[in-house]
Symmetry: C2
Subunit: 201 residues, 2 copies
């Protein structure tokens, strides 16, 4: 089985939507997701940096983030064909450790918690694929990177891109099909060589 490493924030956790909603509610702003194309929330509101960053200190924020649409059903299906690991750069936000762990147990209870990884730099991850919204992490990773669309990365062109989990499913199922075909062709090739040896003998 090939192995897929999957990021949390902006990939299976809809962190930005939750962040904008909480910020708008608490600071009476009307920021829209559509204003964040190619930039971060901090770049959109540099004058309220401490307000924006305050949520990274709050366990209740990480515990209550929305689940990314279709991520549960697709990961459940993919986990029948691939080894699934959740790999999140939690070292950047130490307040999130416990909340992220509990959030995963609640929303992805079909995954083995021994496959959860809290790291910093993802060059340490050994997997065939990494699905991430962060180009810096995809660059550090040694396998094939798959860019999961998030507002800040819409202008990136260097990676295979999936816009949502339905596209991710299609890509990984096609990949599976392609891998199977390759294996079958290799088997046929080996069988032919065996036959040739037998006939020669």
């Amino acid at each position: 089985m090939k192995r897929i490493a999957i990021d949390m924030d902006e990939v299976i956790a809809d962190t930005l939507t939750t962040h904008v909603e909480w910020y708008n509610r608490d600071y009476q702003d009307e920021l829209k997701l559509s204003e964040l194309e190619g930039i971060t929330l901090l770049q959109a509101r540099p004058d309220v940096r401490s307000a924006i960053e305050s949520y990274y200190e709050r366990e209740d924020f990480f515990r209550n983030i929305k689940v990314m649409e279709h991520s549960q059903e697709v990961l459940r299906e993919l986990s029948e064909h691939y080894e699934i690991y959740i790999t999140t750069a939690a070292m950047e936000v130490p307040a999130s450790f416990r909340a992220k762990y509990e959030w995963l147990l609640e929303h992805f209870d079909f995954l083995n918690e021994m496959n959860f990884v809290f790291c910093g730099d993802k060059s340490i991850i050994r997997a065939d694929y990494l699905v991430d919204d962060n180009v810096k992490q995809l660059r550090a990773f040694k396998g094939q990177g798959i860019l999961f669309t998030a507002p800040r990365n819409v202008h990136e062109i260097d990676y295979v891109r999936v816009n949502n989990w339905l596209e991710a499913r299609a890509w990984f199922m096609a990949q599976l099909h392609q891998d199977q075909q390759q294996r079958e062709e290799q088997n046929e090739e080996q069988n032919k060589e065996c036959c040739a040896v037998v006939e020669e003998g």
Copy 2:
């Protein structure tokens, strides 16, 4: 630079000594480390399982574990020649996340926290070496495993063994020397080939 992944408990954190001390103090027992050869603490005191396991729920326990002798000076020195990552199976003990992170910041402040990894199964770790006391994790790991002696593993014979951090330093410095020699020999070989081509020409 080659990369070394290093386990925490029983490798840079003297968890067993601290565990036995706290248990003896709290439960008026006189268990000695020398009684734990080839077995775990739970196997030595199966009748008080809940007492033994209660410490895994306590943040103050993980925050106050002793540092393994010589681990700080040796890791500081090795970090000049190798990339050092701390890779701990923290998913087995979720209460330990924050305490382990703070413990690392306190005792190994010369390491980059982006190189801390909390995982379950260490097959996910991409590194050249893994120093661990747990044979199960060394088996899962894809690079070269180095067994760090702990009472429970004294009868294991399948891995390169280091008994303490001074031995670990000697092993890794010898390895470094060997890698350098190999590179020099390869360079000489390439130079000879170049000269031969020039002379032929």
